[in-house]
Every structure is written in structure tokens, then in C-alpha cells.
Symmetry: D2
Subunit: 358 residues, 4 copies
């Protein structure tokens, strides 16, 4: 097990979907920061379930309780422990999970790794619910980054094959409202198409996936490291920690593989005294280090594995082939709720990198 | 700076492209392993430059010298230090690099981070040449993995938009010869097309990129971790440490985002007493942990940034816009040589993960 | 800040003396262990305040609540979060601490490090109260170690210059009852003298210190590492994490510096098929690695800095010299309560080392 | 194995006493530092063997070769690899070490841990010779610390029970010449007595140990961490990495255990605008954090285990009790050469701590 991450900001995640609570300890936040609880709450609500018909009907309030490290609303420099109680659990739904392994879920790998002792209720420690504390921690990191002039914005780039408009880095300020939305798209008409596709999947007892595109603006050149612990290594590491993520690409990503060098290279120029690039095919990172352009990356998210259609699987108790129909309340598409998780995980990674170079 | 990686296998990379040497220290290799030097040499040669007309004419022999940690050819358990001397350096080529920042290269980010003190000759510590020690370390890890029944194979999935055949996981044994090749493709005709595209790029003073697909077979279910330090997190971390990598995806990767849940989920069945899946859209990893299917991932590599065409850039000495024509000897496509680097980096990551669960 | 420790067992400590709670997250405990809550409670009670007249009258029940990682009393493999609520806080006692720096306390160093934002109530995150979660975590580790045949015993070697008898390693089984005691000494008469010295100090509004001697028996040869992360490095690291510890020595410790080599060397012999040593001047560790003899070390603990006598100090608000009389409820000697803390911290360190070599 | 250390300054140690070379990689040294090679050489010579009759006649020049990370004498920010070749090895002396375990040496623990594959020649990776690269790395760190106004001085506090004068912290500037000496004592007459005791031990085919006292001056208040990674934890961790160290104490150390609180507490006062303490019983560290007083600690070093007297031991090849007479060239007392090692290891630890708080 390894639910601890970070070098300069260290987080330790704990909890299970249907246990008493979930939570996080954040070690390394400097003292004297007045936490913006309104902002944190707003971010938590973007992730919280039950807010739209596209998400699971399990309505958790996700009220976070800061237990330590904050006095009179101001960080003390001591570790911040935050707990979110699980209020709306229906564990009865999951009883047969100890024997029938849900396809696409962690059930079987976790069964092998933990010898069947893992908490299977609602996915236990593997639940997407564990991203709530990540949003909490990320929101604090974002507040610190904002004070440095760094903003993180994301949008739903794709759902069910339907694409949003491309985010124009030159107009990042125009997109700041996206960070307030529960379904952040640039092109609202495309957003409606996506919603329709999600609804169709739900009616079909199925699910759909998508892609989140995320941009970090205002970050100076010179942040990161060559080779190991490159900006891409650190960001991809936290992105692949988000359940259901199966791909991460920076800048032009997989498309850069089709370009020629003369097209792919981002040529530089002076914009006043600042060095800028005409293009950003490298996503703001070269040689593992930021070049002053926005850090841009895309994250592929698989369709929710919890579907009500019958599926073939194995029964590890009987040792025989079997069939499963997953009951319970599930999102037909987790991509909208994942946007703020991607932003938050990015914030943690970026702050950790910046503190390395302070 | 942060050229140290790993938890159970710890590697520390050092050296510069045109300095005295490059090398690596590997800490955590168990005692009593008789190193297969023929195998290590073969892998090193797959990466070494100057072997084909598709790679840089800089002909380095890449002779590795094991300085410590091995006695009479057998590991002692003490750290293994390996040094590769730089024999064929032409540093005169790079003199103007201190002022003119090459687009697509680490020059500008490194200039900012290191205040101009970084060794710019041949890219210094950022050079692709630093992957040679990674191949050395990875080859030792691969030898250990082989003894556990784990094989790592890769092929060039794409160069300049030309695609190789898909690697059929069910026939992995048929592809083992790929690990002996300097231009590993399944479909030789497609390989010839790729070579032609590379040659065309070279004649055009340009470069092309591509994609490496890599498969790890024989790995048990239950390896890895939920959330942080998932198999995907750890593998993507080392992949994005390889210069020029801009994307990493597992299983169906970005395509899984277009699927429905019922298509994406890998249904299980018993194959005798073994649990298998009918498909492998998750690339052998679910919930951050292996499910017993081959671990499969693809890595996007950008076109070599070193091109002889004139490019716009900044001159950090004069503070003015300028133009650069990159001289020196360069690969028009590094993808073929990158295959063994991807395999080697994967080996280090996989062994580190397995030792965690021993 | 850095309240995270460990490689194979990772602990993350949080909380403040007079805040809402204190607690710990333990990551890396294997699944399937049925926790012995009676044992954990017994160990917690040995440390808890208010149990004897020698300790602070602040009577905390120190009831631990396991929030995560345990299902039906059995570990799941997920991180274990334990919280201990602070029930008996009298923060009014400490109001002037923001300006008057208590000598011997963390007040002034913490004031500088955290810019005055640290929680000063009861010492905040620096309080000896933070050792309660360490005892909780250590008790779980001890349970795991017991299953491997490893026992940890300590006694009060010295208080106020009064020495207990020397612990005879050859008769370790005779001392196991010490782990049930709140005032663990071998020679009860000496123990009475110590208690008298403590009582005298209390009457004199003063305090006294002492030495804990700890022995780890049943540990195999071959555990640990050369150079960094030697057994001594790892154990001393956690011992010096316990507030008030100012010295750590192994085996003959500082006395070995006065010996000749022929006296200091522990000569070996076969005891049946087992290798044993006639003496244990090296405290069971040579070259950073266990040699099969009991690991033995001593820990020096300074007198409680909280004394009611007037002391000279600075007032950081006025910037002037001042005087302080520390109010509040304090132990005249923390050594008796520290014994179980030393044992627990040792258990965490030893388990981390053993897991490295599994 | 675990020869890697550090968070902000990361060092990776390699090599064997009688192999080809020993060396170190240092990752995290900032760019732009002009290395003071004269200073480094001087420090290396203080540790080098064969300089006095009190040390082993094995005369190694200990010429360090900086292979990477330095260009034109200035650090580039890339990892610094330093290699020291072994020139004067007489491995024939050690042939029987594979079966006869030398008492007091790492032979037996290493034999068990590494299954007999470890390099036993001259102690292999466990040799005190491995401290040479630590002096190299420490000397670079010291140069950086000097630029911050931090000086590290040590003296031989005790050899064979003979004590040097106490180092008066208030007159640290008077002691700076100690850092140039191969036998650093304050009281030269006492130094002669110590030398006589060493010579007597040598004539008697025996050895003696001692204590090094070390002081770090000029360090600001506010450096370090509560609980884990306290200044004492970090410094003791590297001290116990030095072969033969068996005890570490800070300030009054084990003597503080005999004091009352009113004597032990270091009362504060303003010295102009600076906070000072009248005494330094806490060795400059309280609550794990520096208080602005010099950091002071003492290190107990056992007598050299290599003695020519016959000793009882086991023969692991025959499985029988046996006797050994250790041949070869050895120091009758390593304490004088250890002084610069203690200073160097302290420098690495202190710089790592300071970078944490930058």
C-alpha cells in the first residue's frame, strides 16, 4: 500500500467509500495562510455527487472538517488533517462483491493483493470517493498558487466522442468562469450534445468516458527537473492516481508524434522582455522544465465501469465462471465531476514542484 | 535537480553528453546475481548511436564499465556504479548555444533554472545520451524479471504517421525476436515505409517522431498500489523521464474515452485455474494494480528537435530576437533507438513495484 | 514541517495538544491482521497522563478511534487512521505563551520557524501528547513483531542520578512483566528511591530527567543496512523524534569509547547451530546490520522543561528581557511515561527495517 | 541495501575498499558555485590514511576525480559524481575472511544479509574507506554553509579515557585552526597523552576508541522540524552512518538526564536584538528546531575492531568454533581521522535541513 505522496507537500490519504469517513493529512503547507473556505467548499461541491442527473443519486454533502493544523482559520504550519464523514452509505448493495469480481473495477486485483481482506463496500479505499480529499488538498494548494499568479483551468474536451472547442491559451482569462461550473465546456451546444450522450448511456444501463484538458497559466520558466521528476513525470504520476485515468499527454501529445521537427518545435521570441513561444506543442515543458508557456495536458478517462448490464466474470469463492449485474447508484459518466479533481491534483503537483525550486 | 529515482531499486543518474562520462549508481539489487554481460551489451548496442543511417553519425561505442558492486561477475549487494566514457565529442559544434536557445530543446528552461551555469555542450545532462545508463540499469532489472518469468517487448507502433501492425498479446512469444532488433517492427513492409519517411526527413533537414508500444508479459495479478504509486503512475513517471516523450497511455488509452462501459470493461473468465480477461482495454492494470493480463502501454515521442532548418529564437545574451541553424550530428528520428530505452525504463519501474509487494 | 516518516511503514502524525484531536495515519500495514485492542489499550494506558501522582494531573482518557483501514477488527491493507480526541484542555493557562518564550520548550524555535502562527496552546504540535499516536502505531507494529518472535522490553535505567539494576540480556524472559508496568524498574527498592526523587522535585516546583534502556530480542542477524539507514541510524532517528530526548547510545555506547578493541569486540561462538556472541558491547548491531544478539540501546531524557520556578526569558512581543513562571499541569518527570513511547517508536523502526529485507 | 541518503541534498555512495574505486554522486547542489578545490583537498587529507604513525600504514593518496556536474570549476546544477581510485590494495591479506568472521566487524552480519556474496576484501562496502567520499561531499556542503556564515568545528574530546579541555562555545573563533589539524585537540598536552595511549595500544596489538565533539556555529534559529526529521534525528542519522559510531548526544546529552529542570533549561535574553541563551544544555536544538545557539553534539567511536590479538570466532564454512588473528594494516585508533568525517557528515545534514526551510 502506498497512499502517501509528495516531497515538499506531503499528502497521506485514507478512508473507504462505505466506512466511517475519508480524509487526508497535508504536511508541508506553510504557516500564516488564511484559508478561503468559501473557495474550498465551492470546489468540493463541483466534485460532490448527486448535484446533477448525470451523476450518481448518492447525495453526499461532502462536508469537510479540518481537525488540525489550522487555528482561527489560519494555517499554523503543522499538518492539516481533514475528515469527510460518509453519511449516505447503502452497503447492503455490495454484499456479493466478495465473490463476484466486477469487470473494470479494482475488485479482482485488490482481492489478490489483499488476500480478500480489503473493504469491498463501494470499492473501499479504491473508490472514486477518495478524490474528495484530493480536491480539498488541491484547493488549498490552488489558493497558494493563486497568490503566485498561477491559475488552473480545465474543461471537458471530449465525452462519448463529442468534442468541445479547443481551449485558446491566449485567451485564458476568458475561461476563468469554467472553474465555477459543474459541467465545464467552452461550447455550450457541444455540452448539450455530451449531456444527451450521457443520458442515452444511462437509459441504456451503460456509461461513457471522455477527456479533460487542463491548463496551468502564470507559471514561470525554470520549474521542474531533468530526467526523473520532470514536470511531466510528476503531473502524470498524480493524474494516473485518479481512478479511471488511462492516458495523459502534454501539449500536442500523441499528435506530436505525427509532426515534423520544424512543425513541432516551439519557436521563441521576445514579447517585451518576456520570452514567449509562437506555439505550445510541448505543453509548456521541455527537458522536464517549464519554458514559461502555459503547462497544458489532457487526461483520458474511461467510462464508468459500474454498469447495470449483465457481464461475464469469475466467482472467486466458487472458482467458477459466473455473471454479474452491478447494482447500486452510479454515474453514467464521471468526466464532469473529474474536471475539478484533475485541476486539484495538478495544483498539488505544481506546488510540490515550485517548492522544490524556491 | 533530481536525478535520483526509486524506492526499492534506487538509481542515481549522472553525466553530460560532452563531459568526461555518463553513468549511474544502482542501489538495491540483491546479491548473488551473475550478470549476463552479453545481454546487457546487446541491449546497449540497440540504443547506441551510429549503428544505422537513421541515427546520428556520432559513433559512440557505449562501452560500460562496472566499477563497483560486482565481484567476479556476480552482484555483491552493494551499489553498482557503471560509467560510460564519452569518447567521440565535438564540443566546438555547440559554442553558440550559450546565447541562442534551440527551439524544442531544454536550452531555455535549463538556462533559466541554472542561471546559465548548465553545461550546454550537446545538451549536457539533458541529452538523450543519458538514456544509455538507463538501458544499463534496465537490462540488469530485466535479467532479474526474466528469472521471474516476466518479459518486456516493444515495437515501433508508428513513425511519421505510418503504423505498424497491432501487437497481438495472445502471441507474445512470437515477438520475442523484436528485442534483438535495432528497428523493431512486426510488419517489415511498414518498417520500410517508416525508414523511407525518416530518410526523407533527413534529406529535408527535418525530423520525424513516433510511438512505441510496449508489453510486459508474465506479471502476476496483485502488483501495484491504489491511488498514488499506481502501476500507471510509476510507469508513466519513468516514461516521462525519457527525453522527448510527450504522451503515455495504457491499454486502449485515449481510445477508451470513446467507448461505452460495456465495451471497455474487460470481462473475466477462468482459463483452467487462472483468471483471464477476454479483452485488455485496461492494459493489465485496474485500480492501480495488475490484474494478471499483460501490462500494455504506448509512448508518444516527438520529432528530434535538432534540425538544420533555420528557426526563430531568442538570444539571451543580446536580449534580442534571432535565428538559429542547429549544427552537429543528429538523428532524424530517435524512435527506433528509443524502443530499448522504453523497455529498460519499464523494467526498472516494474521491478521496483514487484519488490514493494515481495 | 515534516511529520511524515518511514519507507515501508509510513506514518503521518497530526494534531495539537489543545486542539480538537491528535492522530496518525499508518500506511503499509499488511491486510489480514486481527488487531489486539486489549493490548493496544494497555500500552496506551501506560503512556496516558494522570495515572500516577508522578505525572500531570491532566487526566486524558486517550481513547483511540480507528477510523479507517480496519474492518470487523481486521486490517484491510488500506491506511489506518486513528484519532484521539482532546477532552481535557485548559487553554486559558497558556495565553501569555505567545509573547513569553518558555526556556527548554519549543516556543522560541517554533515562533521563528512559523512566524508566530503556530498553535502555542499546550505546546501545540510539539507537545509530548503527540507521542500517544506513536504508541498506537507502535503497538500495532509490536503485535506484528511478536508474531515473528520479536519482543521489545524497556526499563527506567536512571532517574535523577539513581540507577536501576542492569538488564541481563540472558534473562530477557524474566523481564516481560515490565511491559505491563507504569513504572518499569528491575530493582523495586531503587524504583522507590526514584519516586521519592520525583516527588521531591515536584515539591520543589522543579523536575528531573532520566534514561530509558530498551532491548529488542528475537531479531535475526542480517537486518539493516551499511552506511545510511543503518539500524542505529533508523532507530536513533525515531528516538530523537520523541520530545526531550537528548542522547542515544547502542550497546556499551559512550563507555565503549573507553575500552580497548580486545575488550570491546564481541567474540563469536556456535551455540548449537546458532551464532552467538559472548558479550554485546555493540548492542546487537555491527556495520549497521544486526548480528543476531539483542538490539540494545539507551535513551537520555531531559527533565521536563515545564517548571513553576521563575525563569529568565525574552518577550518577543515587547522585544525585552522578561521573566516567566510556567503555570499549568505538568509532570515533574516524564521518564516513566516515556518507556512505552521508546518501545513503540523502536517497534515502528524495527518493523520498517525488517520489511526492507523481507 | 540503502546507500542513498537525503531529501534536498541527495547523496549516493558506492564502492569497496579493495575494489577499483569508491565514490559518490551528489544531487541537489545548486549551480554557479566555484568549488574550492584547495579546501576540499585539505579536508580529504585530514582523513586520508598513512599521514601519521597513529593511522594505518596503507598510504592512499585519496585523489578525488570530479567526473560530472562541474564545468570550468563551477557547479552546473547537474549531479556531481566523484570517484576516488583505490591504488594501494593488498587483497591477499584478506583471503580467509570468507570463512572466519572478525569480531567487531561487519563480516558476520554482512555474510548473513548478502548470503556470502559481499566483497569481504578490506571490509568491502562496509570499510571506513567509504567515509572518504563523505568528506568530499561534506566539504562542498561546508563551502556552501560558510557562505551563509556557518562554520563547523570539532575536536577530539576523549581518547582512551583521556579528556581534552571543554570547547568554549563563546570563543569559537579561537578554535578555527582545529579544522586544519590531523589531531585536533584544544589542550596539546592532553593530545600528547592521547597519542601515547594510542602508541601503547599499537605496541600491544590492540586499539582504543574515543569521542568527537562537534559544534556548528552561525546557524539561525528556526531550522529543523518537530517530531520526525528533527535536527537531532537528521544529524544522528548521518552520524550513526559512520562506521564505529555507537553513541550520539546533543548539548549536555546523557548528563542532562541527571540535572533538574531549573538547571537544564537554557534561559533566554536579548543580546542587542538577538535572542541568546545563557547556557546551551540543549545543544542549540529544542523541539527539533534550532534556537540560534550553536548546535553541539558528541559522537562516541569504538576502538578499531581490527586487532592482531587472537580472538575467538566462528568459521561459517566449517560451522565450527575457531580462532582468528586479523592481519593487514590497521589504525590503532581511528578517532583522529574521524573528526573531519564527523564535520563533513554534519555539513551534509545541516545543508539538507537548511534547504528544507529556504
Amino acid at each position: 500500500m502506498n497512499s502517501t505522496w509528495g516531497k515538499n507537500i506531503r499528502i497521506s490519504l485514507f478512508g473507504e467509500s462505505h466506512g466511517e469517513c475519508i480524509g487526508i493529512v497535508i504536511d508541508g503547507v506553510k504557516s500564516g495562510i488564511k484559508l478561503d473556505n468559501e473557495y474550498i467548499t465551492k470546489m468540493m461541491q463541483r466534485r460532490a455527487p448527486g448535484k446533477t442527473k448525470f451523476s450518481t443519486p448518492r447525495a453526499e454533502e461532502d462536508v469537510y472538517q479540518i481537525k488540525t493544523g489550522v487555528l482561527d482559520g489560519v494555517t499554523t504550519g503543522a499538518p492539516i488533517c481533514c475528515i469527510i464523514e460518509n453519511s449516505n452509505t447503502k452497503s447492503g448493495d455490495y454484499e456479493n462483491l466478495k465473490s463476484l469480481m466486477r469487470p473494470g473495477h479494482s475488485d479482482y486485483p485488490a482481492y489478490v493483493k489483499f488476500g480478500g481482506f480489503n473493504d469491498v463496500r463501494g470499492g473501499g479505499h479504491f473508490s472514486g470517493r477518495l478524490t474528495a480529499p484530493i480536491v480539498f488538498a488541491g484547493s488549498i494548494c490552488r489558493q497558494i498558487l493563486k497568490d503566485m499568479g498561477i491559475e488552473i483551468v480545465s474543461h471537458i474536451s471530449e465525452i462519448a466522442g463529442i468534442n468541445d472547442d479547443v481551449l485558446d491559451e491566449a485567451k485564458l482569462n476568458d475561461y476563468m468562469n469554467l472553474t465555477n461550473e459543474t459541467f465545464p465546456v467552452i461550447n455550450k451546444a457541444k455540452g448539450e450534445e455530451m449531456k444527451e450522450a450521457i443520458e442515452n448511456a444511462r437509459m441504456d444501463q451503460n456509461s461513457v468516458g471522455g477527456v479533460i484538458e487542463c491548463v496551468v497559466s502564470g507559471i514561470n520558466a525554470g520549474i521542474g527537473n531533468p530526467i526523473f521528476h520532470s514536470v511531466e513525470s510528476v503531473i502524470s504520476g498524480v493524474m494516473f492516481s485518479i481512478p479511471a485515468v488511462k492516458g495523459v499527454e502534454f501539449g500536442a501529445g500523441f499528435d506530436i508524434a505525427k509532426m515534423t521537427g520544424s512543425d513541432a518545435n516551439d519557436e521563441y521570441y521576445y514579447d517585451g522582455s518576456d520570452v514567449k513561444a509562437y506555439t505550445n506543442n510541448n505543453g509548456g515543458v521541455i527537458g522536464g522544465i517549464t519554458n514559461g508557456m502555459p503547462v497544458k495536458f489532457r487526461v483520458a478517462i474511461k467510462p464508468t465501469p459500474s454498469i447495470s448490464k449483465p457481464q461475464k466474470t469469475v466467482n472467486v469463492k466458487t472458482g467458477e465462471n459466473d455473471e454479474i449485474v452491478v447494482q447500486g447508484r452510479h454515474d453514467p459518466c464521471i468526466v464532469p465531476r473529474a474536471a475539478v479533481v484533475v485541476e486539484s491534483a495538478a495544483a498539488i503537483a505544481i506546488l510540490d514542484l515550485i517548492l522544490e525550486d524556491r
